[in-house]
């Protein structure tokens, strides 16, 4: 594989050889290549099948690949290729994970070729394997594999089936480049690449104007963040002369004074990039629109993996952020505000996917809060558990929409298959989906012993503990974050229960004709749901904190794997932790309002349980009518949050329209009137002058020679004396 490695990338190659003594990874490049292979194969099939569909369209026929007894090869093979490459990639990742020594101190870098090598810069196409990238790879390939399998059922009757899997495989390829890249530049390749796939998949049904608009919006908003990422890279390059992780993180402490201007600028610019990708305020507006894509896409890209890239990036750069406490406070502030705002919006949405979208934005806010307060492990922990239960929620919603879609076909009149006001009582028709979604709901609500309880509790606790650290200059601010985070956690419990009750309980509102066609999803869809449900129950046990392990939360010491993830990630996060302790002092052992870790864990889980119970009663008693007969929320505040705090309208008025107006003005005023006006004037003037000078065309050679000489002398003279 190591072909064309240029001299400049040999340095990193040498590093790999050195590390190889410690541990030799098994074909890490293949983990990345397998999804790419899937993309190429599925892509060929997609173009092949598109030939038939476009030919039919041109002749005015309908082409249904599923009309015959057996669909054509182009629609059968992706079933095996798409999930197949993912399964293999996951197996290979698992093999490497199991082989990776727990005490591996230095990351293993495997270079493949010198990507961009100039006299001053050397970027190698290289993979960096360490504890953090390993965890991410497992999540991406593992959850990704389950979602690919689910897609077989969900997208199985879509005419664009091969194209769908081509895009999905391509997405995983770029996501793996993102998490496995050995430097900021390679990470950026994955970063923009997943953005591209997100664009393609949101607009997968591209004939629909609204859907392709949503894809475009996602891409452009993401690119605003990418500018921040780019500028941060430039600043890092100016400081270090490289963009590779290892030398930058090793040298950061000596290079930057803690809290200095440059490091603060770098981290704030990185935050801008992260906010774009992870849909944090003020760049969160694209994610809810992104729900236009097929639902498994929302599960994979817009819940489990891509949108968490910002969290991964901050955790990856933990050393840099630890050196910039101001930036950290901003990161945490952005996170907590996003969490709160998105949670309020989620409370008033009727579209089942919109609720989940805002819920995702909100949970990402929790992760940002975690990495902002320096609890990098907690952030990654929540990222992992969230990948389980949010993927489950989206896929479950997918199963619901799948059923509603079939019902809508048979119903009378138009039926919005995603509007929860048209659902109700679905438990009767889809008991498995209902059960697994309840598990995910309890997990996200933070109820013990489900996965979300452990990860969310850890975030909230760390915020409290660092708020009380002796010399934390932002101690009081952290205390506010802590309070807001608690409030948001309770809102989460409410809006998720509301979703469950409106969808699965109470009377059915689908309509008589339609409701008889409601059905449980096929096995190919329910099995991934069940796997994810198991993970949503037990996933939190990989990191039971020491302080809780001897309490109720750890079943009085009988849960295994106490602080496993914490120890596992320690080689990656310990430098940042040391810097933080050096700056802030030790974290406190009590929350700002008093009380220890066990007490607050008990309080939060009990409070969440109470909210869930209250919401079941409150929402269950409310009478909903089908969407067609409903006027939406009443009252100023509910309308305000229902309309998403009017962010879109604000941006439209303040940014989109002015830029468009300015663009038109540049064209019509400057280009057409000023510049071309001048040019045309000169042209006409020259014509006039030409007519005038034509009077000099006497035909006498002497005259010409005289004028010519005069002219040359004049020009030369002007050049000399000016």
């Amino acid at each position: 594989m190591v072909t064309g490695v240029s001299a400049a990338s040999l340095a990193s190659a040498g590093m790999a050889v050195q590390a190889a003594a410690e541990w030799q990874p098994i074909l890490p490049g293949l983990i990345v290549l397998l999804p790419l292979l899937g993309f190429v194969l599925n892509g060929i099939l997609a173009l092949q099948s598109a030939r038939h569909s476009s030919a039919a369209l041109r002749e005015g026929r309908d082409w249904d690949p599923f009309a015959g007894a057996r669909p054509p090869a182009t629609h059968r093979l992706p079933t095996w290729i798409g999930p197949g490459v993912m399964g293999l990639a996951f197996a290979l990742a698992l093999l490497n994970f199991l082989g990776m020594p727990a005490d591996l101190h230095d990351p293993v870098v495997v270079p493949y070729w010198g990507w961009i090598v100039t006299g001053d810069l050397s970027i190698a196409a290289a993979i960096q394997l360490d504890q953090l990238s390993m965890v991410m790879t497992l999540v991406v390939t593992g959850v990704g594999f389950l979602i690919h399998v689910f897609s077989v059922g969900y997208m199985g009757r879509d005419p664009g089936y091969p194209r769908y899997f081509a895009y999905l495989n391509l997405f995983v390829f770029f996501m793996l480049v993102l998490v496995l890249g050995s430097g900021f530049a390679t990470m950026f390749v994955g970063w923009e690449g997943v953005g591209l796939c997100s664009y393609l998949l949101i607009g997968y049904w591209f004939s629909d104007r609204e859907k392709s608009d949503a894809g475009k919006k996602a891409f452009i908003v993401n690119r605003i963040g990418d500018v921040g990422f780019l500028l941060a890279m430039f600043l890092l390059f100016n400081g270090f002369g490289t963009l590779d992780f290892i030398p930058i993180f090793a040298g950061a402490e000596n290079h930057f004074a803690a809290g200095g201007v440059t490091i603060t600028a770098i981290t704030l610019l990185l935050l801008l990039g992260a906010a774009g990708k992870s849909a944090q305020l003020p760049l969160h507006i694209w994610l809810p629109d992104a729900m236009a894509g097929p639902t498994p896409v929302s599960a994979l890209i817009h819940a489990a993996t891509m949108v968490t890239a910002g969290v991964y990036m901050v955790a990856r750069s933990s050393v840099l952020f630890a050196l910039a406490p101001t930036s950290q406070a901003v990161v945490a502030g952005v996170g907590v505000l996003t969490a709160l705002v998105a949670a309020t919006i989620a409370m008033q949405q009727y579209d089942i996917k919109k609720v989940l979208a805002y819920s995702t934005v909100s949970q990402l806010g929790f992760m940002f809060m975690a990495v902002g307060v320096g609890a990098f492990t907690a952030g990654i922990f929540h990222l992992v558990t969230h990948a389980f239960f949010k993927a489950l929620l989206f896929l479950g919603a997918g199963a619901v929409i799948h059923a509603m879609h079939d019902a809508a076909h048979h119903g009378d009149g138009h039926l919005d298959e995603q509007d929860m006001r048209n659902m109700g009582g679905l438990r009767k028709y889809m008991p498995v989906t209902c059960a697994v979604m309840w598990i995910a709901t309890l997990a996200i609500a933070g109820i013990w012993p489900f996965a979300g309880f452990f990860s969310k509790d850890e975030i909230i606790w760390y915020t409290a503990a660092w708020a009380g650290a002796e010399s934390n200059p932002f101690g009081q601010l952290y205390a506010v974050y802590w309070g807001l985070a608690l409030l948001t956690a309770l809102l989460t419990a409410f809006y998720m229960t509301r979703l469950m009750v409106m969808t699965f309980h109470g009377a059915n509102r689908t309509g008589k004709a339609a409701s008889s066609h409601l059905h449980e999803a096929p096995n190919v869809m329910t099995v991934p749901l069940i796997v994810l449900a198991v993970l949503s129950v037990f996933g939190g046990w990989i990191n039971v904190p020491n302080a809780l392990s001897d309490s109720f939360a750890g079943l009085w010491g009988s849960l295994p794997m106490t602080e496993w993830l914490h120890h596992w990630l320690e080689p990656v996060t310990h430098t940042a932790a040391e810097i933080q302790v050096a700056g802030f002092g030790e974290a406190a052992h009590a929350a700002p309002a008093g009380g220890g870790e066990v007490a607050w864990a008990l309080i939060s889980t009990v409070a969440a349980a109470v909210i869930v119970a209250a919401a079941v009663m409150f929402v269950g008693r409310r009478k909903y009518v089908p969407a067609a007969q409903d006027a939406g929320p009443r009252g100023a505040l509910p309308r305000f949050v229902y309309n998403k705090w009017y962010f879109d309208e604000l941006y439209d008025a303040v940014i989109v329209r002015p830029v468009l107006a300015l663009s038109r003005w540049c064209w019509k005023a400057i280009d057409t009137v000023v510049i071309d006006g001048f040019v045309n004037f000169t042209g006409n003037f020259a014509r006039l002058a030409g007519w005038a000078t034509s009077l000099f065309q006497t035909g006498q050679v002497n005259m010409y020679a005289f004028v010519l000489t005069l002219g040359v002398l004049f020009v030369l003279g002007a050049a000399v004396f000016l």
Binding site: G4, A50, I116, D213, I220, F237, W667, L716
Partner: protein, 540 residues
């Protein structure tokens, strides 16, 4: 491969062949029938391209100077010679020219219906002029080729163009002519003041100009090349020329004619007037114009109803990246600028070809006349999307490598400029994606579009190499970067270290210098030499 090329003495004749074979082709086309003209022209251009490919192996950047040099006296009394040479900068421009010429001719088969012999003769003549421009190392020869390219392009737009072709052609001609006449004056000035009586490249490098002279001469050259690039505010000829030009004309215009401007910066402007080029005010003016071009052109592009005009404006934005990369005067910036030049040549050329295919099918350039094309023409849509992504600089495509390096290099010396320029990546998405959407996506609601044919075999043969190049340069640009680096170092050293380097080399080269140019005082800093114009004129 290298051995094979050496056995046929490739390096001895290739540069001449690349210039003169298109001319032979021109003659052949004129002698044949109108029906066969396109095939003959394509074969000649393909032959030239295949021959030029040998440069990839046989060209050795060495220390960055000219290689494969050959000189023959031409107009001896004026000191003009037929002098050719190639280095790491021009080699890519030549390859780009031979490649896109063949592609453009292949892409014109359906588009050009009238006066075909004349058209293909002019296309080959244009190729000859451009190749000659990139290979000339004699300033007089360079100027002849520079002017030579103007004439065929003028007729291509003026005869085979759209409705407003006459206006566009004249505008193109006047703009360019104004710049090139000023440059002619500047060339003559340097010629006379160098006192060597030679139009050779070396003579112009060692003309010993004062800073004040350099600034004026810089302005004249910069205007000529800046119009060609084009730099804001001299860009308004470009949208008109592009919109009116036939597809192959647009392709050549975007792919190579614009590059003549930026190539002029690297080849002539910076090395001839290094002190002016590094003067802080000059640098700032050029950087600001570059940034304005990036942002302004992106905005204007975004509101164009005409797809071809939109792409024309994006050229201005792309070339803005070249301008800032060059005038950042850093290695990364200059190399980035070069890669943008190559990448823009490929991706924008490809975009114009795709728009040409659309026009051939629907006879409209208006974006609103399309919609939903992706459903009826999936191969076309795939090629279109990949090209658009390369154009807006998605990582993994050629556009990213160039823009990234140009911005990085600019950031090293001018943070604020680079930061503003970086917003160009957002505006690139802002102009390109809506067009992609409105052409390929959305509803297929216009009945005329239902019969929109997908790519033919010939069109696939055109697009495949272009797409492959976009991805190759995006994934593995190092073979390109390492070939150009030494020559770019030479330019950079020349600009950065002109006085210092001159003094240092004086010690070893005093004797030689003294014999060549007895007027020059070896110990003196060239920067403070008396203006050679005041030296008594010599009769030689």
């Amino acid at each position: 491969m290298t051995g094979l090329l050496a056995s046929i003495l490739y390096e001895d004749w290739i540069l001449h062949a690349l210039i003169w074979l298109p001319l032979v082709g021109t003659a052949h086309v004129l002698l044949t029938s109108a029906e066969r003209a396109k095939d003959i022209a394509f074969r000649w251009s393909a032959l030239v391209f295949v021959l030029s490919l040998g440069l990839w192996w046989s060209f050795d950047p060495g220390d960055g100077g000219f290689t494969m040099v050959s000189t023959a006296p031409w107009i001896e009394s004026w000191g003009v010679s037929y002098a050719l040479g190639i280095d790491g900068i021009s080699v890519f421009m030549v390859l780009l020219t031979t490649f896109t010429s063949a592609i453009a001719i292949l892409g014109s088969f359906e588009y050009v219906k009238k006066r075909r012999k004349a058209f293909y003769a002019l296309m080959l003549l244009l190729e000859m002029g451009v190749v000659g421009f990139f290979l000339a190392t004699d300033i007089f020869l360079f100027y002849v080729f520079f002017e030579l390219t103007l004439v065929p392009m003028y007729f291509i737009v003026g005869i085979w163009g759209g409705q407003r072709r006459i206006y566009a052609a004249i505008k193109f001609f006047l703009y360019t002519a104004v710049g090139s006449l000023l440059m002619l004056v500047a060339i003559l000035y340097v010629y006379f003041s160098s006192g060597t009586g030679s139009f050779g490249y070396e003579a112009f490098m060692n003309a010993g100009l004062s800073l004040r002279e350099q600034l004026w001469l810089f302005a004249a050259f910069a205007l000529a090349f800046g119009i060609k690039v084009p730099i804001f505010p001299f860009h308004t000829w470009l949208p008109d020329a592009h919109v009116e030009a036939p597809t192959p004309g647009s392709v050549i215009l975007a792919s190579v004619l614009l590059k003549m401007g930026t190539y002029g910066f690297l080849r002539f402007l910076l090395p001839f007037f290094p002190e002016a080029a590094r003067h802080p005010v000059v640098v700032m003016v050029m950087l600001v114009l570059g940034v304005v071009g990036i942002i302004y052109a992106a905005w204007v592009a975004a509101v164009q109803p005409d797809a071809k005009k939109l792409v024309a404006y994006t050229s201005v934005a792309h070339m803005g990246f070249v301008v800032i990369g060059v005038f950042a005067l850093t290695l990364n910036g200059l190399q980035g600028g070069m890669v943008v030049m190559i990448s823009h040549g490929i991706s924008t050329g490809a975009l114009f070809l795709l728009l040409g295919m659309m026009y051939e099918r629907r006879h409209s350039r208006l974006i609103e006349d399309y919609g939903g094309i992706g459903r009826v023409a999936p191969w076309f849509a795939t090629a279109f999307v990949i090209t658009a992504l390369a154009s807006i600089g998605l990582p993994g495509t050629s556009g990213f490598v160039g823009e990234f390096l140009a911005l990085l290099g600019t950031f090293e010396t001018h943070m604020v400029v680079a930061a503003i320029a970086a917003t160009g990546v957002v505006f690139a998405a802002y102009y390109m994606l809506p067009m992609v959407q409105r052409v390929l996506f959305n509803k297929l609601d216009k009945p005329e579009n239902r019969t929109f044919a997908d790519l033919t075999r010939r069109e696939m043969a055109i697009m495949a190499p272009l797409v492959a190049l976009m991805i190759w340069i995006g994934v593995h640009p190092t073979p390109f970067l390492e070939r150009m680096e030494p020559s770019i170092e030479v330019v950079l050293e020349r600009v950065e270290g002109a006085p210092r380097a001159a003094v240092e080399t004086m010690e070893g080269a005093t004797m030689v210098e003294a014999t060549v140019n007895p007027v020059e005082d070896p110990s003196a800093d060239p920067a403070i030499l008396p203006a050679p114009a005041n030296v008594p004129a010599r009769e030689d």
